[in-house]
């Protein structure tokens, strides 16, 4: 009998002999069946199954539920008794693999390209599948991410990647899933009015006041013109001058790509409706600090939202001091499709599940909060046919945790599977932990 049985003792996994991150290998493809048994299965769509089993065959989920027989066969079985089983978390917008070290090392950053209309720029081509950050995120249950370029007005296309790969082609889960646009700001910039002051002032920021709304609208018109010209260009296949920028907008008109509009202000988001009405684009708001104020309008126009870091300060001094925490509940109530994100440059997005936890503290149910970092994100990124929930037919992107992953103290991830491959949870941090436990003789 070749049946392999794994009891789950997480520390054994973590205490594997110290290796450099270079020796943390992407997992090999696993053909055949595997079972994760007896866990509390959080499907991701709101359903929780106690004492349930997930059956995986050739990387796909084939059964979920209780009473699933585990054959005495050549299969892998993972006992998750007392543990919680979740869909792999999805980081819905990030610079993962593009920015290695945020500050002070320009050479390590490939997230911002020069130019205003970079429709043709593709984040996937710079995605570094060996980034040190990636393995750490897996340790926090994040198995997929959308990787987006930044800067300019149209920054380029994002791709969805899975986080256990040899290279970017290997990592690509959905290539060029969306085009990213930063909506011009309608807010007067800080320091625009003044000059002088203590002690240095902002040299060069003084001068004649500009009307920020007018300036923004001028830029919006330029963006629309770009799309109008792209639309015309795409009507004709034969061009004397090939224009890569216009060509790259095709996916938006074909609805093969979504338009991810980055903006936090009400007016920015309302302008985004224009892109639905005039061009028929699928629009997703990224940021959405003030989205709770227009939740009904977003719903009416079928606009989804990827909220920015929830652990943020209130936008204004007078705002409810917990406003960012309760914004997800407002969107949920209005029926807006939304995902939660972690943008924190200090923790490099590892706290995604705790953003969901805070949303659960301030008005979402725990399962709604989970959906906001799994199934909702998959829907928004257009990969919900393959991932985002533990449902039959989807990829076996699964994590198993000691307890509630939304709450930090119980959220230790003990297993993770991507497309049925059991991936290593080792990373530079676990390796250094191990190294110094050895030094001090700590258990």
């Amino acid at each position: 009998m070749k049946r392999l049985f794994y009891t789950i003792s997480s520390l054994v996994l973590l205490c594997a002999s110290a290796q450099a991150q270079e020796s943390v290998y992407p997992a090999k493809e696993y053909k055949g069946k595997l079972y994760i048994t007896n866990g509390t299965v959080h499907v991701g769509n709101g359903t929780v199954l106690e004492n349930a089993t997930v059956e995986v065959n050739n990387g796909k989920i084939v059964k979920v539920g209780s009473g699933i027989a585990v054959p005495a066969d050549d299969v892998k079985v993972f006992d998750a008794k007392g543990k919680h089983v979740y869909p792999g978390l999805i980081l819905p917008n990030s610079d993962l693999g593009l920015t290695e070290i945020g500050s002070g090392v320009r050479a390590s950053n490939d997230n911002v390209e020069i130019g205003d209309f970079n429709t043709n720029v593709r984040s996937i081509t710079a995605y570094n599948a060996d980034s040190r950050v990636i393995n750490i995120l897996k340790g926090n249950g994040i198995l997929l991410s959308s990787v987006a370029p930044e800067g300019g007005i149209i920054s380029g296309s994002s791709s969805v990647v899975q986080l256990d790969a040899w290279n970017w082609e290997d990592a690509a889960y959905k290539m060029d899933a969306g085009i990213h646009l930063t909506m011009p700001s309608f807010i007067q910039r800080f320091g625009r009015r003044g000059g002088g002051g203590f002690p240095g002032g902002f040299p060069g920021l003084g001068g004649a006041p500009v009307d920020p709304a007018k300036q923004a609208l001028d830029r919006v018109e330029a963006i629309k013109n770009f799309f109008r010209e792209a639309k015309a260009y795409l009507q004709e296949s034969n061009h004397a001058n090939t224009n890569l920028k216009l060509e790259a907008a095709k996916g938006l008109f074909d609805k093969k790509q979504k338009l991810f509009v980055h903006g936090d202000q009400v007016k920015q988001m309302l302008i985004a409706v224009d892109f639905v009405k005039e061009f028929g684009f699928d629009v997703v708001i990224v940021g959405g600090s003030e989205s709770y104020q227009i939740a009904d309008l977003l719903k009416a126009n079928n606009i989804a939202v990827i909220l920015g870091e929830e652990h943020s300060l209130p936008a204004t001094e007078d705002d409810d001091i917990d406003q960012p925490f309760k914004t997800p509940a407002a969107l949920q109530k209005a029926g807006v499709l939304f995902a939660l994100n972690d943008n924190s440059a200090n923790t490099r997005y590892r706290n995604l599940s705790y953003n969901a936890g805070t949303a659960a503290t301030y008005g979402l149910t725990k399962e709604e909060a989970l959906s906001a970092i799994t199934l909702n994100a998959a829907k928004i990124l257009g990969v919900d046919d393959r991932t985002g929930s533990l449902e039959v037919g989807k990829d076996a992107n699964i994590i198993v945790s000691e307890g509630d992953i939304l709450d930090m103290k119980s959220s230790t991830i003990i297993m993770a599977f991507i497309q049925g491959r059991k991936v290593s949870l080792e990373n530079k941090q676990t390796q250094l932990y191990d190294r110094y436990k050895t030094k001090y003789g700590i258990k």
Partner: protein
């Protein structure tokens, strides 16, 4: 012809100039005595004394006599001032009239650019470019009549002018606003000395912060004292010499904000100086603290304009605090008066100085008495400057500086007619000299003989002609020229439509508006068109009737309307207005009434004691007199307020070992060693993040200097007493600490144009430490040997460290730099009390333990910069297991609201027990800060700094329901919900009021809505999770917009 004209005007100008004795005369001598008598006037000698029907006599620019029944010299030119008022002209005590505004050198100060470590001023001056007490305004002063005229038009005759630049600005001069040669307008050459917290045009890197400016002033006071003994090694220092020379003068401090007022006053207190403080117009928000300074204030009248908040999205960005200030700013002078704080008024802050009198009237409407207003513009400034013997009131022998007005000077309808400076007349509104309003007899010499009409002149553009009917004619009177046209015969309608009626139009019989539109339709009528010249009470001229007959006419004044006496009605109106309340702090979440200390009994909770008792179930905690009085079961309430703690958790308040909130500046990066600067000098108790952090259970925060330099500034431990003033925010009786920093930031890794400030490597950082303490040791010895040794505040702080009177919190990341620092400490015999950030602490935990350091770190930060690439989330757990006292800190205004959760992460990363994890944000930081005898655990006798949590405090689902400091409930989740409603209601009221202003105020009544930016000061180390209207400022960046 043209040439002649020019010559003529040239002559006219010359005649205004008094000849100065030593100057040659080109032409025939034209000395005049300038003797004038102003008769029949109401003379306001000073704010207290008014003489009716009096005469003022002047000669040679001086007042010769004044009073009722004063003899008029024969050679006096008599000016009849019937119905006129005469006041002493105003004094602006805060002017830079006649001074060219200094410009910052090309390029200027740039925080990303190379450091400028020494002064660019050439000559035998001091080391800091912003300290130039040697500048004398009198030497730069040049008469500028266009500027002078602007001030004279407002009623000013004298100003104190100075160079508004730098921290020590030099002396000011009292000058008159006469258009004369400079020699003759200077009243007092050195009348004042001036200071500020702003380095102005100085391009030198130091100081780069408010606390740096304060430290520089403090040091300069000491240096100047020391310089009095002419220390040989200092040579000649003209700046210190001037500083000493200036000390006898009135000392002015441009503070420009309520908290800076208080800060400035404290500097003065240290050195026995009482400053006259130039305020910021928001003094009413902290009037008690302002009164306690016992300073005289100089107050501007720059009331904020209403904003255009019609668009709710724009309105949203404007804070309630800014809206309230818009409404209440005009109450500032009245608030000062009510609190018996002496003050002067100045034009200097106004963007449009023409609004001075309008704004002053607004202040009077809001309760400022006219007596006080006049005093603030005359006697008070003159007395402060020691020139009351010359100006500031109307008395014999004083300068003939006065204004003649058409009525009481502060009444809305009053015009300033003349402004006399040193006996010379400057016409302001000559055309209004004759009060046009009144009843006249109009005589028209028609072909049929003279016809008389009564002419009732309402104002310069409206008049009624009264014959059989009252007719409104087209009328203009521009002071000298008069035009009038009217039809003497009533139209067919029984009542003449007066003005504005459209011939044949609808609206029969209606009174048209304004009377400018000619006459109503009707039968062909004779119409007179008259034009003439006003000679005051008598007008005469020529005209024509509709038949083309030429005629002459005259009009003579019969009786005058007097300007309505002021403003009791207006003031009554203001008294009835509903106005915003001053809250503490002055923003939405401030208190109208501060919460009080209570006896509180928390019943039946799970109590995390942090003591040997551990976690106690179903336990009561009694808080009394600000202390924890009892912990146990079945404690009787005995009058205490009872909180049901069933199902809830009680912990000691969270202590944030590393915070940058509640300060006006954080980083003084001007030099590598700035141990002289003190966060305590610039606490900001109005930071909204105090309140927000209370909601996360934080009760104490250690406010650290930033990490811009190796030896940073002295820190301040505070308690989050929301609503307290800066002084009361301090955690009393706590040990002094100081911030050190190592690594990337102090070697200025991110300097955009390279770094020229030592150190540039970690090798250099270690040497900065070595050098500083070597100097400190030498200094300590020198002071002991010779008490006359120059006091050096920078080294004083280091000596305190050597003597274990001050303790270090050291920003640090990598093991090499940590070890190097430890060895410097060992060498000089001091301990690095705490290493903060310390993300590689796990690599050298044993060494830190041996040295005796605490560690204060982040739970799970990594990879935000090169020096944290080896950061691991297991750091705290390893250090704790090695035996270090480990704290988890925020260094982040947002995350500080969730430090309990950060502690929860330590359970997850490395398996520390829950109770030990909680200690990392309570008891352990108390130990690191040497206050564990007062706070950090639930123990009888300790401060009642306690949090009631909805559940296990390490859980993400836990909320602080009540946060209590000193037995005072500063955070109450239910009350917060009420407060939100109040904020909404008050915002609504003020928004409506501003919209009203926009609708009724005409064009230009409102300015575009300006977002109220929330300023976050940061150590400059990493990103923060900011809100939409939040601005993060780093080293050297300005808080001012």
């Amino acid at each position: 012809m043209r040439k002649l004209k020019l010559l003529f005007s040239g002559l006219l100008f010359a005649s205004l100039l008094q000849a100065q004795e030593s100057f040659p005369v080109n032409g025939v001598a034209d000395k005049r005595d300038g003797c004038y008598a102003f008769t029949n006037a109401t003379i306001v000698k000073d704010a207290q004394t008014t003489i009716a029907n009096a005469t003022l006599v002047i000669r040679d620019g001086k007042i010769l006599a004044l009073g009722a029944g004063v003899a008029i010299p024969k050679d006096a030119t008599v000016i009849d001032c019937k119905n006129k008022f005469i006041y002493p002209s105003f004094i602006d005590i805060y002017s830079d009239y006649g001074i060219t505004a200094p410009q910052r050198a090309q390029g200027g100060f740039n925080f990303g650019g190379p450091a400028q470590l020494t002064s660019n001023t050439k000559g035998a001056y001091g080391w800091n470019q912003a300290v130039h007490p040697e500048v004398d305004a009198v030497r730069q002063f040049v008469v500028d009549d266009s500027k002078a005229k602007g001030l004279r038009d407002l009623g000013f005759g004298t100003v104190l002018t100075h160079v508004k630049d730098g921290i020590a600005r030099g002396t000011g001069a009292v000058v008159s606003l006469a258009n004369e040669k400079e020699n003759l307008v200077i009243i007092k050459e050195k009348a004042s000395a001036h200071y500020s917290l702003s380095k102005g045009t100085s391009s030198q890197s130091y100081p780069g912060s408010i606390m740096g400016s304060i430290a520089l002033l403090r040091q300069t006071y000491m240096d100047a004292q020391w310089y009095k003994n002419k220390p040989a090694k200092e040579g000649v220092n003209l700046s210190l010499q001037a500083w000493n020379d200036n000390q006898g003068l009135p000392q002015f401090f441009d503070a420009d904000d309520k908290w800076n007022d208080v800060r400035a006053d404290r500097i003065g207190d240290e050195f026995g100086v009482q400053y006259i403080i130039k305020g910021g117009g928001n003094e009413y928000q902290r009037i008690k603290e302002i009164a306690a300074t016992k300073a005289t204030y100089v107050i501007g009248l720059n009331f904020p304009q209403a904003m255009d908040v019609e668009d709710p999205n724009d309105a949203r960005a404007v804070s309630l605090g800014d809206m309230k200030h818009w409404e209440l700013a005009p109450t500032n002078p009245a608030a000062l008066e009510k609190a018996n704080i002496p003050f002067c008024l100045t034009v200097s802050d106004l963007r449009d100085q023409k609004s001075f009198l309008t704004n002053l009237r607004k202040a009077i409407e809001m309760g400022l008495t006219e007596t006080k207003a006049l005093e603030a513009l005359t006697k008070t400034p003159a007395t402060l400057l020691g020139v009351y013997d010359k100006v500031g009131s109307l008395e014999t022998g004083k300068q003939a500086n006065f204004i003649i007005t058409s009525g009481p000077v502060f009444a809305a309808t009053t015009n300033i007619l003349h402004n006399w400076v040193a006996g010379e007349k400057y016409g302001i509104k000559e055309d209004a000299w004759s009060e046009v309003k009144g009843n006249y007899t109009l005589t028209i010499n028609t072909v049929a003989g003279p016809v008389k009409y009564a002419l009732d002149v309402k104002n310069a553009s409206t008049a009624n002609v009264i014959g059989k009917d009252t007719l409104t004619g087209k009328f203009t009177h521009d002071g000298k020229m008069v035009k009038l046209s009217f039809s003497p015969i009533a139209a067919r309608r029984p009542q003449a439509p007066v003005g504005g009626g459209t011939p044949g139009g609808p609206g029969a019989g209606g009174f048209g508006g304004g009377g400018r539109g000619g006459f109503g339709g009707g039968a062909a009528a004779t119409q007179y068109r008259l034009s003439g010249v006003s000679n005051g009470n008598y007008w005469s001229g020529t005209g024509e009737d509709t038949a083309g007959n030429k005629l002459t006419w005259s009009a003579k004044l019969d009786s005058v309307y007097l300007a309505a006496n002021t403003d009791s009605t207006q003031r009554r109106r203001a008294g009835n207005q509903r106005l915003a309340k001053v809250t503490y702090p002055f923003d939405g979440y401030g208190w109208e009434e501060a919460p009080k200390q209570e006896s509180i009994l928390i019943k039946n909770a799970t109590v995390w004691t942090n003591e040997k008792e551990g976690k106690l179930e179903n336990t009561d905690v009694l808080l009394k007199d600000g202390k924890i009085a009892k912990v146990g079961k079945g404690i009787s309430a005995d009058g205490a307020k009872v909180i049901d703690g069933t199902g809830k958790h009680v912990t000691a308040g969270i202590i944030d070992e590393h915070s940058h909130i509640a300060a006006a500046s954080i980083n003084e990066g001007g030099q590598s060693v700035t141990s002289e600067v003190r966060i305590a000098d610039n606490l900001n108790p109005e930071d909204i993040n105090i309140y927000r952090q209370l909601s996360g259970g934080v009760t104490s925060s250690h406010i650290l200097h930033g990490s811009a330099n190796t030896i940073g500034g002295q820190t301040q431990l505070i308690k989050l007493r929301w609503g307290a003033n800066d002084e009361d925010l301090k955690f009393k009786g706590s040990d002094g600490f100081i911030k050190f920093a190592l690594g990337e930031n102090v070697k200025r890794t991110t300097a955009t144009q390279g770094n020229n400030r030592f150190p540039d490597t970690r090798m250099g950082v270690a040497e900065v430490l070595n050098d500083a303490f070597a100097r400190a040791k030498d200094y300590e010895k020198a002071i002991k040997l010779d008490p006359k040794t120059r006091r050096d505040l920078e080294l004083d702080a280091l000596v305190e460290i050597l003597n274990k009177k001050r303790f270090i919190t050291c920003h640090s990341y990598v093991q090499s730099e940590i070890t190097a620092a430890l060895r410097v400490g060992d060498k000089y015999g001091f301990t690095f009390n705490t290493f903060t950030h310390i993300l590689e602490g796990y690599k050298v935990a044993d060494k830190m333990k041996a040295h005796g350091s605490s560690a204060s770190t982040f739970s799970d930060w990594f990879y935000y910069k090169v020096e944290v690439t080896d950061a691991i989330a297991y750091n705290a757990a390893i250090m704790q297991k090695v035996g270090l006292n480990v704290c988890i800190n925020s260094d982040d205004a947002e995350m500080a609201r969730r430090l309990n959760q950060e502690a929860g992460k330590i359970v997850r990363y490395g398996g520390v027990s829950e109770e030990e994890a909680l200690k990392m944000v309570t008891l352990n930081p108390a130990k690191a800060l040497h206050v564990d005898n007062k706070v950090g655990s639930i123990k009888v006798g300790k401060d009642a700094d306690v949090v009631v949590w909805s559940e296990n405090p390490l859980s993400i689902y836990a909320k602080s329901e009540k946060t209590i400091v000193d037995g005072i409930v500063y955070w109450d989740r239910e009350k917060d919900l009420e407060q939100r409603k109040k904020i909404q209601a008050e915002r609504f009221r003020l928004t409506q009021k501003m919209i009203g202003e926009k609708r009724t105020g005409g064009p230009g009544a409102v300015r575009p809505a300006e977002p109220s930016w929330q300023i976050l000061l940061s150590c400059g180390d990493h990103e923060h999770e900011d809100g939409l209207y939040t601005v993060e400022l780093h080293e050297g960046e300005s808080k001012d917009k």
